[in-house]
C-alpha cells in the first residue's frame, strides 16, 4: 500500500537574530490513505511547523529542505499556483483557534461556498446548495437560515464545525488538523473529534492530527509519531506506542499524565527545558534531559525497527528489544 503523504528528510530552519534555528530536522513520516495519524509533542517541538511546511504556508524567511511527496509529486518543489490549486481541494488544513479562523465580515455560508467555488466550476446557486448540505453534515441546526449569519453569532465549537465543513468541502484526500480541539472545552472537544472521525471514515479522508494531548491520540488515532525538538523520536501504531513506549521521552510523557500517577504525591515532571534550536545539542536532542543518557547519545540515534511498524530513535533500543536496565520509569501495567 503506497503512502498518501510521505515526508523524506524534511527540515525547516528559521532565521533568527541569533542565527538559524533548526525547528524541524530531517523528519521522515508517512501517512497511509484513510488513516488518522497523530503527531504528538509539547509546544515548540515543530509539529505545527511540519504541517505548515507541507502546505507551503510557512513565512518567507523559512528555509525548507527535503521532500514531501503527495500524490506522486514533491510539494516542496511545486510553484505557488500549483500549490494553491491543491490547497483546499486535495489537502486541507484546519487551525487551532476557531474564533480567528473565519473572516468576521462574511457570512459563514459564503465562506464555505467560496472554498467550493475556488476549486470547482459550479454555479453560485449550486455552491450555496452544497454549502448548506455541508453545514447540516457537521451538525449545525437550521442550516439554511444560519447560512447567512456572520461568524460572531456562533459559539467556538460551532465555528470549528464550520471550519471542518470548509476543510471537507471538496472531499480532500488528506486533512491536516492542527490542534483542532485545544481551544474548546472538554465536552465540545469530544464532539468535534467524533465529528472529524466520522466524516473522515465516510469519505476515506486521511487526517494528520497534530496535538499535544495524548488522550486525543488514544481516542482517535490509528498511528502516531512523537516529536521532540524538531525530530521524530518514536513512531508506530497508536496502541503499541501508548502501551509499550520505546523512547525515554515517550515514556516520560506518558508518566507525566496525571491519571497514570497512582501514588498521592508530586506529579511526574520532565526536568529541564527544550533545547536552544539555534545551537542544539549534537546527537540526540533529548539527551540533556534524558534519565538514561550515556556517551553514545552524542551521536544522532538511528531509527530502530521494533516490529509491526513500531520504530524508536534511541541508542538503547539498538541492542534489540531489550530495555535499558537503568530505566527509572517503571511500567505499572496500566
Amino acid at each position: 500500500m503506497s503512502a498518501l503523504l510521505s515526508a523524506e528528510g524534511l527540515s525547516v530552519r528559521y532565521r533568527t537574530p541569533a542565527g538559524p534555528a533548526s525547528v524541524v530536522d530531517r523528519v521522515d513520516l508517512s501517512i497511509a490513505p484513510g488513516e488518522i495519524f497523530g503527531l504528538v509533542g509539547e509546544s515548540g517541538c515543530g509539529k505545527t511547523t511540519f504541517a505548515l511546511a507541507a502546505m507551503g504556508l510557512l513565512p518567507a524567511d523559512a528555509e525548507t529542505s527535503g521532500r514531501v511527496v503527495f500524490d506522486g509529486r514533491d510539494l516542496l518543489a511545486l510553484d505557488d499556483e500549483e500549490l494553491r490549486r491543491l490547497r483546499g481541494d486535495r489537502i486541507s488544513m484546519i487551525f487551532q483557534d476557531p474564533l480567528t479562523s473565519l473572516d468576521p465580515t462574511f457570512p459563514v455560508g459564503a465562506q464555505i461556498a467560496e472554498a467550493i467555488l475556488v476549486h470547482r466550476d459550479v454555479t453560485r446557486a449550486e455552491a450555496r446548495r452544497r454549502a448548506i448540505e455541508l453545514l447540516e453534515s457537521v451538525g449545525i441546526p437550521d442550516a439554511a437560515s444560519r447560512y447567512r449569519d456572520p461568524p460572531h453569532r456562533f459559539s467556538g465549537g460551532m465555528r470549528q464545525r464550520v471550519v471542518i465543513a470548509i476543510a471537507l468541502a471538496n472531499e480532500p484526500a488528506l486533512v491536516l488538523a492542527d490542534e483542532p480541539t485545544t481551544a474548546l472545552d472538554v465536552r465540545v472537544q469530544a464532539q468535534i473529534l467524533a465529528l472529524l472521525r466520522r466524516r473522515c471514515d465516510e469519505h476515506g479522508t486521511a487526517v494528520l492530527l497534530v496535538t499535544h494531548d495524548l488522550g486525543v491520540v488514544a481516542e482517535v488515532c490509528d498511528r502516531v509519531a512523537v516529536m521532540y525538538a524538531g525530530r521524530v523520536v518514536e513512531t508506530g501504531p497508536a496502541a503499541a506506542v501508548l502501551s509499550s513506549p520505546a523512547h525515554p521521552y515517550t515514556k516520560a510523557l506518558l508518566a507525566a499524565l496525571p491519571a497514570r500517577t497512582r501514588q498521592r504525591g508530586a506529579l511526574e515532571v520532565i526536568a529541564g527545558e527544550i533545547p536552544d534550536l539555534v545551537t542544539p545539542p549534537p546527537g540526540c536532542r533529548f539527551a540533556p534531559r534524558c534519565p538514561v543518557a550515556h556517551e553514545r547519545c552524542s551521536d544522532v540515534p538511528a531509527m530502530t525497527a521494533l516490529g509491526d511498524g513500531h520504530h524508536g530513535a534511541c541508542w538503547l533500543l539498538d541492542g534489540g528489544p531489550a530495555r535499558a536496565a537503568a530505566s527509572p520509569v517503571e511500567e505499572d501495567g496500566s
Binding site: 526536568a271 527545558e273 534550536l277 527509572p328
Partner: protein, 290 residues
C-alpha cells in the same frame, strides 16, 4: 552516566526583535529640529542681523544679497530678521496654547479616568462633543467671540486642544487606575489625591507629552491659517501666517517672500511630528495618543 535530572539550561525560545515604532532616528532628528527652532525663537533678537522693522524705500522687494540672504519684503525690511521674529511669535503661540491646554486638560482627564463611572461620564460627554467639532471651525468661532491678536489666538487654539489632552490622559489614567499597585496603595491608606499624583499621573503623562508634540505642530498650522486670513496675529507683528499673507501679493516679483515662510512652517511641523514619533516608543507603550 549523567545523573538523573541534570539538565542543560536552555535559552528561552528565540523571539524576533520587536520593531519599535519611531525609533531613535526620529527622536534625534525631531528633537534636534525642535531644539534648534526654540533656540532661534528665543535668541531672535541676538541672531537677527538687522532691525526687523527697519523699512527702506529703496530696497522694496529686493533680491537676496550676501548681507541679506533672504532678500527684502514689500516694505524694504530684511526678510531674514523678520522671519526670526516671526518664528518667535508663531512658536510662542504654539507652545503657549499647548501649555495652557496641558494645564487644563490633564487634570480633567486625570480625574475622569481615575474616578471613573459617573464622574467620567459627566466630564467626558462635553469633551467628546467638543472633539466632534472640526478643529479649525471651532477656532474661528472662538476668534469671532474673543477677537484677534496673539493672546486671542493662544486661547482659541488652547480651547481646541484641551479636549484632546483630556481624552488622552483619561484613557491612560483608566488603564493605570485599574492596575494592582493602585489598589495596593489604597490598601496602605494613601489618599486619592496622592495616588493620583504619585502613581497615576506619572504614567498617564507620557502619552500626553507625545500628543503635546503632535499638537504643537498642528498649532503652528492653525496659527498660520488664522493669521493668514487676518483673524490671528495682527500686522505689523510678524508671524509665519502674517508673512504668508503679506507675501501672497508679490508672487511674481518676489516669490521667495511666500516660499520661505511656507518652508519654515513645514520644517517646524516636521520637527514636531518626528519628535512625537520618536517619543512614542518610550512614552506611550499602549499607543494611546493618536
Amino acid at each position: 552516566m549523567s545523573a538523573a535530572g541534570a539538565a542543560t539550561p536552555a535559552a528561552a525560545p528565540r523571539r524576533l526583535a520587536r520593531r519599535r515604532e519611531g525609533g531613535t532616528w526620529s527622536l534625534r532628528v525631531g528633537a534636534g529640529i525642535v531644539v534648534a527652532l526654540v533656540l532661534v525663537a528665543v535668541c531672535a533678537s541676538v541672531l537677527a542681523p538687522h532691525d526687523r522693522d527697519a523699512i527702506s524705500a529703496t530696497d522694496v522687494l529686493g533680491a537676496p544679497t550676501p548681507s541679506h540672504p533672504l532678500g527684502f519684503d514689500e516694505a524694504g525690511r530684511d526678510v531674514l530678521s523678520r522671519l526670526l521674529y516671526a518664528y518667535r511669535v508663531s512658536l510662542g503661540v504654539a507652545l503657549g496654547s499647548v501649555g495652557v491646554a496641558l494645564l487644563v486638560g490633564v487634570p480633567i482627564g486625570l480625574v475622569a479616568g481615575f474616578y471613573g463611572r459617573w464622574i467620567d461620564l459627566l466630564l467626558m460627554r462635553p469633551i467628546d462633543m467638543m472633539l466632534a467639532f472640526p478643529a479649525l471651525l471651532l477656532s474661528f468661532v472662538l476668534i469671532a467671540v474673543i477677537g484677534t491678536g496673539v493672546r486671542a489666538a493662544i486661547i482659541a487654539i488652547a480651547a481646541i486642544f484641551i479636549p484632546v489632552f483630556a481624552r488622552v490622559v483619561r484613557t491612560a489614567a483608566l488603564t493605570v487606575s485599574s492596575l494592582a499597585y493602585v489598589d495596593a496603595a489604597r490598601a496602605r491608606g494613601a489618599s486619592n489625591l496622592s495616588i493620583m499624583l504619585r502613581h497615576v499621573l506619572p504614567n498617564a503623562i507620557g502619552p500626553a507629552l507625545v500628543q503635546a508634540s503632535i499638537l504643537a505642530g498642528i498649532a503652528i498650522q492653525i496659527e498660520a491659517a488664522i493669521s493668514f486670513v487676518g483673524l490671528g496675529v495682527q500686522p505689523p507683528t510678524p508671524s509665519l501666517g502674517v508673512m504668508l499673507a503679506d507675501g501672497r501679493n508679490f508672487l511674481s516679483q518676489a516669490p521667495w517672500l511666500e516660499i520661505v515662510p511656507g518652508c519654515a512652517i513645514a520644517v517646524s511641523v516636521l520637527g514636531f511630528i518626528l519628535l512625537a514619533d520618536g517619543l512614542r516608543g518610550r512614552l506611550d507603550p499602549y499607543g494611546v495618543s493618536r
